[in-house]
Symmetry: D3
Subunit: 142 residues, 6 copies
Amino acid sequence: MVDITQKQSTYRTAIAQAVIKVSSMVTIDAIKKGTVPKGDVFSMSKAAGFLGVKKTADLLPDCHPLPVEHCAIDYEINGLDITVKVMVKTFYKTGVEVEAMHGASVVALNMYDMLKPIDKGVEIHHIKLLKKTGGKSDIENT
Amino acid sequence: MVDITQKQSTYRTAIAQAVIKVSSMVTIDAIKKGTVPKGDVFSMSKAAGFLGVKKTADLLPDCHPLPVEHCAIDYEINGLDITVKVMVKTFYKTGVEVEAMHGASVVALNMYDMLKPIDKGVEIHHIKLLKKTGGKSDIENT
Amino acid sequence: MVDITQKQSTYRTAIAQAVIKVSSMVTIDAIKKGTVPKGDVFSMSKAAGFLGVKKTADLLPDCHPLPVEHCAIDYEINGLDITVKVMVKTFYKTGVEVEAMHGASVVALNMYDMLKPIDKGVEIHHIKLLKKTGGKSDIENT
Amino acid sequence: MVDITQKQSTYRTAIAQAVIKVSSMVTIDAIKKGTVPKGDVFSMSKAAGFLGVKKTADLLPDCHPLPVEHCAIDYEINGLDITVKVMVKTFYKTGVEVEAMHGASVVALNMYDMLKPIDKGVEIHHIKLLKKTGGKSDIENT
Amino acid sequence: MVDITQKQSTYRTAIAQAVIKVSSMVTIDAIKKGTVPKGDVFSMSKAAGFLGVKKTADLLPDCHPLPVEHCAIDYEINGLDITVKVMVKTFYKTGVEVEAMHGASVVALNMYDMLKPIDKGVEIHHIKLLKKTGGKSDIENT
Amino acid sequence: MVDITQKQSTYRTAIAQAVIKVSSMVTIDAIKKGTVPKGDVFSMSKAAGFLGVKKTADLLPDCHPLPVEHCAIDYEINGLDITVKVMVKTFYKTGVEVEAMHGASVVALNMYDMLKPIDKGVEIHHIKLLKKTGGKSDIENT
């Protein structure tokens, strides 16, 4: 684990994305109308994603535990694609990229898990970091 | 959470895959030679993946806790692509697809986390279920 | 921890209840209309409750880990009172009363946490077991 | 999750309470004499409560992880009522009310779990915040 | 992780031991009289040990999650030595040796943690498996 | 739990040690050559140890959660003895001795778990604090 004892806390943000592709507009409609049998897909997946962000250091050995000071999760529907964006912020000595990516991955997996009974063709695409600020260098992936 | 109290335990397997793309052969060489500063990438990510598989029900609200009775993680290098395959087996009332997919996602994230200091361009592609057996229907994605 | 190695698995159910009292109909309206700033209170608290049920043995030392095979959470609004009912089922050697009660407690706490910014007067009343079946004796509290 | 990156750390305290009602003085005597078969009820429930306080953010999605810097748990017996008070302190950007309330709930549930074999009539009443200091406003419930 | 899907569940027990050596009889007296400032050392360490046993598979990657169906923790004082014995039982496909040893280790560490303020010389000796039954071979270490 | 709200954060380090004794040079060779069936013993045990360090406050009730800011794990082979050293660093209000000792214990247990199939005679000796700096007094055990 990298030694960060001598680093200064600075403001850090990261936004990660996952794309979930469903196989039919029937699935999209069920999500929008709240008729998926397991419940409200976006709200429950947001809950899972917040917990996923907070538990990243419980799963990745080399990852420093850190105070997650903000997390927001948004969804955008585009045809059969649902894009999840997870933003994480902290004021600490190390960045929150992996936390944002783990959050995006958990949201996507939870959507898969909730939609599985009504759609066998759900796929999870590109989990990637869109942007980070703070630390040695900012990154913007487009 | 689906009611599985009246279901019979049967033999279940699932194989999930994640593809990690690094940006240079220098990274591949560092992994193979064991010179990545954070340690042995494949072994440590396997450890993370096993834990990720076991903790799936801790993160996904609707997911039943279940006895993970086998887990194996393999890596295949193909140019700049590293394909991770996570196989999970159980003898229980419900399947292990989501567990295998969460394991693949955690392995990929751990590789990203360990490689980040030497390669800023690592990307995580397609986390998907390759195959499942047991339960109502077998699935094979090719 | 009680020795249950020689017991037979049987079908077990438990229903626990918590009552949350808010201080104004404005709060009830915000919940119903989905305008609480932190998100959909019932769905996110259901997610928290499912996790609370599953993690009971992680918190209570003497409590056996067990396969939670069904969980359902319902809400009923009655004036300023919101009654949460958590049903848990398993097919195992020991009962799920404490799991249902922990679930009810976590749902109530999560509602408190989400409503706090808009209502300073939320109170959590009576967390109690309503009913259990299976094991040495059935219980029904009315 | 509320964005607290720009807030200042301040001294925060919270005291929460739960009331456990047992059904007979025999139960009270067993607790006092340390003859409850599962062990010392007050000490083991204190252990559970400390862990419950520390794991609050693991269960409530919107709750910020924070450094629990003090926790004390006291018991007061009054006839058949046992009042548990959980005090939590931190020096951080957000308060510890929910942590104290979750601690009180876990202590009460653990007492219920340990007493169940000798008293079928244990009930958990009023889990509530008694007092908080720090943050925008102090609260005192009497 | 070893594949145990095809194994039969059998009755398994394991007893592990840790020896904690304190530096003075004053410490032993404080433990016996219950005057250690952090609380009742044996009861709180028993609580920690139960949780340690149950969480073994959360920490050791290759370790199968299993239903811990009995756990008992005993202490024996002999001069400055305190011997902790942790017995674990299950009816499952794999043994509980590592669970018993992790439990013994957590009890010993918790005693160390609670005694540290009054005794700087506490040492943890020999964590070892004393006995196991069930599985391919019984073991008895003397 | 000791009240640390009024303490200043200072630089803290701790080094703990565990000694694992295997029963034959065949085991040592298998570790060195990477032919242990469960995988690379040193890398996977390092992963387990990092997680063990980070989860100490999840298991020990009285232990403060703290930001683990550095962790390093080293192995030294001496005949049949393998000495594990776990160094932990933080910049916080309380020390990391127990974290380092829990890490050493988890590394030792994971080695035991991975080696069990090829060596029935593995023993875990002396888990002890070698050194700490920061806080009221430095300690050096030789």
